[in-house]
């Protein structure tokens, strides 16, 4: 549904996006994760035919972003970084205006507007000027605009930036509800929690380049290595007596017990447990060491810095 190959953009001497290659299938949500100025917005602007790529190509729903810009724009819903609302209009007027822009007929406009206002809980305020809305309501209305013409592709640029936690949570819930089998979504964000909550795949972008991409699990494995397990023992830890199965390494120990790195948990964990029990250890619990997306992100960054 969204395909790019070596997508690049240069502004004068500055290379804002450098060889971005992504492939997002229908029904998938990709989070483009990166700090401010990493090239997320530029990538989104190229995907919506606002900026012409200096190199490479991109196709949305089968249409080339350079050759068929109008077609691309009619198939994509874009939530821009700034909500872009006309503050003197009411929500009803605003959605009606954009409905006309997307050439929806009158009945469809009214039906879709009513549905979306209801879905985002703005119906009660629909006839008030948008200028009177809270930040969260504005963002939800902007999301409603994005969905008005039922686009198969959604590009959401920093959907919760500069929002209070409560509003951000509401908007995240709304976005989570937008997932469907045939809708493809790209979320640009620097918010790790948001990316982890909403995305199936994550692409970490740094200085215009995709450093790595994949599911959270794939990224964890590739950046932080095999999974680690903390074992809690009742009778204390005596390392000398333990016979470790293949693919298991002792990486540390705490007062409660040892920590092991396991290459293939499915095969090795039962063997590890057996060895522990055979060594006389009384196992109370065995738990995978949790790694947050933040650790994954920082690992990716430190790799870049080391390089």
């Amino acid at each position: 549904m969204i395909q790019t190959e070596d997508l690049s953009k240069q502004f004068g001497d500055f290379l804002a996006v450098d060889g971005v290659t992504i492939n997002v299938q229908p029904g998938q949500v990709l989070a483009l994760l990166g700090q401010n100025g990493a090239g997320k917005t530029t990538t989104v602007r190229m995907l919506t035919s606002l900026l012409a790529p200096t190199r490479g190509w991109a196709r949305l729903a089968g249409y080339d972003v350079v050759r068929e810009p109008t077609r691309v724009r009619s198939l994509v819903g874009v939530l821009t970084e700034q909500h872009g609302l006309y503050l003197r209009m009411t929500a009803v007027e605003y959605l009606d205006f954009y409905g006309k822009v997307f050439r929806l007929d009158s009945a469809t406009r009214q039906k879709r507007s009513a549905e979306l206002l209801d879905y985002f809980g703005i119906t009660e305020f629909a006839r008030r000027p948008i200028g009177q809305y809270s930040k969260g309501m504005r963002q939800k209305l902007a999301l409603a605009r994005t969905l008005l013409h039922e686009p198969p592709v959604l590009l959401l640029d920093e959907p919760t930036s500069a929002m209070d936690p409560e509003s951000a949570r509401l908007v995240r819930q709304a976005i989570a509800g937008l997932r469907s089998a045939n809708r493809t979504i790209i979320i640009c964000t620097h918010n790790l929690v948001e990316a982890e909550l909403l995305a199936d795949k994550i692409a970490i972008i740094y200085r215009g380049r995709i450093l790595t991409q994949g599911t959270v699990e794939e990224l964890r494995r590739s950046l932080l290595g095999p999974a680690e397990y903390n074992v809690r023992l009742r009778n204390g830890w005596r390392p000398g007596t333990l016979n470790l199965p293949p693919g298991v390494t002792l990486t540390g120990e705490t007062d409660a017990g040892p920590r092991f790195r396991v290459e293939d948990p499915l095969a090795a964990n039962p063997e590890l447990l057996k060895s522990l029990i055979a060594s006389g250890a009384e196992v109370v619990a065995m738990q995978e060491v949790p790694h947050t997306l933040e650790e994954i992100y920082l690992a990716a960054m430190s790799k870049v810095n080391d390089a």
């Binding site: 606002l50 874009v78 006309y86 209009m89 822009v101 050439r103 605009r145």
Partner: protein, 475 residues
Amino acid sequence: MPKRRQEALQIVWLVAWRELRDQLRDWRIIIPMFILTVILPFLANAGAQAAMNFASRYGTPLIAERLVPFLLLVVGFFPITVSLVIALEAFVGEKERGTIEPLLVSPLEDWQIYMGKLLAGTVAPLITSYLGIAVYLLGLVFQGIPLPDPNRMAQTLTLTTVQAFLMVSGAILISTQSTSVRAANLMSSFIIIPMALLIQGEAVMLFWGNDQVLWLAVAGVAVLTVLLARVGIAHFQREALLGREIDVLNLRWVGQVFWRAFKGQAKSVGQWYRLEVRAALRRQAPAIWVVTAIGLLSMAGGYALIQANLPSVSQDVMDEFSSILPVGVDVPSLDQFSFFYILGHNLRAVVVIFLLGLFSFGTLGALLFVLNTAVVGGLVSLLDVMGLSAWKVAVFGILPHGIFELPALVLSSASVLYVAIILVTPRSQRSLGEVSIEAIAECARLFVGVICPLFILAAAVETWVTPVLLSTFGG
């Protein structure tokens, strides 16, 4: 009208109507409009009444007669100045407020957004202007002051309308090329100053009572408006609108772009002549042909004009004209026509043609060229009327240096026309500044490579050869 076209135009109105509704909800626009619709016409009525009283006391009815339509022009013009404020922030204001991007990522065509904004900037101020004019005219009726004649009223209304569109076209063009509302406001002097000069000129014409020139002004302003709108649409780039953040006058970049376009691919002067100058001539060929045709037509026109009008002028008037000419006009003596005088005069003329043409999309430059060539035709005709041998003067007095001078004049006038054509031609991925610098560089290529050498040859022949030929064979 085909349905597709009609739908496309409906979208233009949709963009305009959205903005108009926004304007009508803003008290900062409504209040000045109300003042200009109601209060200003009353002040103008008071002025007209005072003028009538003054005229009746001192017996100067002409002043009052001309002041009434002048005030009509003023009452119509003031409200359309509001359009400038609205149009200047049409794009850049929306960019600053962050509302432009959702519009740009919609499936609207560039021209639909542009024309929508143009319409939105013009409609409200124009309605205010028409209402103001109506209030003023009603006031005149109640005061018992004679209304201006229908022709004058039609003229003022048309002038007001085209001026509003001109200001909005210019302001919207600025708005698409600015980085901030502040920058757009600073650049508005490029509209305000020429408009002020135009209004002053129109006021003079009104007091002079010259209808023909005023209608010409209407036509000129209309042409300029269309060209400005065309330039705006041709260079409207969503990318540039979003991408530009700060304005920096990068003289190095300007110099590099100019030099690259001037030099082309050439590695030596010879190669430059063979490849680049020839290429420039080839590209400008259509403009050269058009200008040549215009030149020939205006030459014929000048000849015909003198033939048709001069014999009817009485000898007395001619004598009188001859007697006042030396007093009023500083005619240089033949000794002053040195090589450098002629060369300087010619170069000054083409520079003026180029500069005037540059700021008027070639129209004022073309006008000067037409005047020049018409004078040549007129001169030959004058000699004919006076019973002198026109062909001898043409062959021995004009042709020897004219062979060089006239092509140079044609080339320089064609160059400015070429720049105008380039400016109104859409160029994707090129900024208006880049396109302008490149077009000027190409004209400079012809100026340095062809026009200047031709003028040098022409001045040499005119200084040292033509006088000899003329005195030997010209009779």
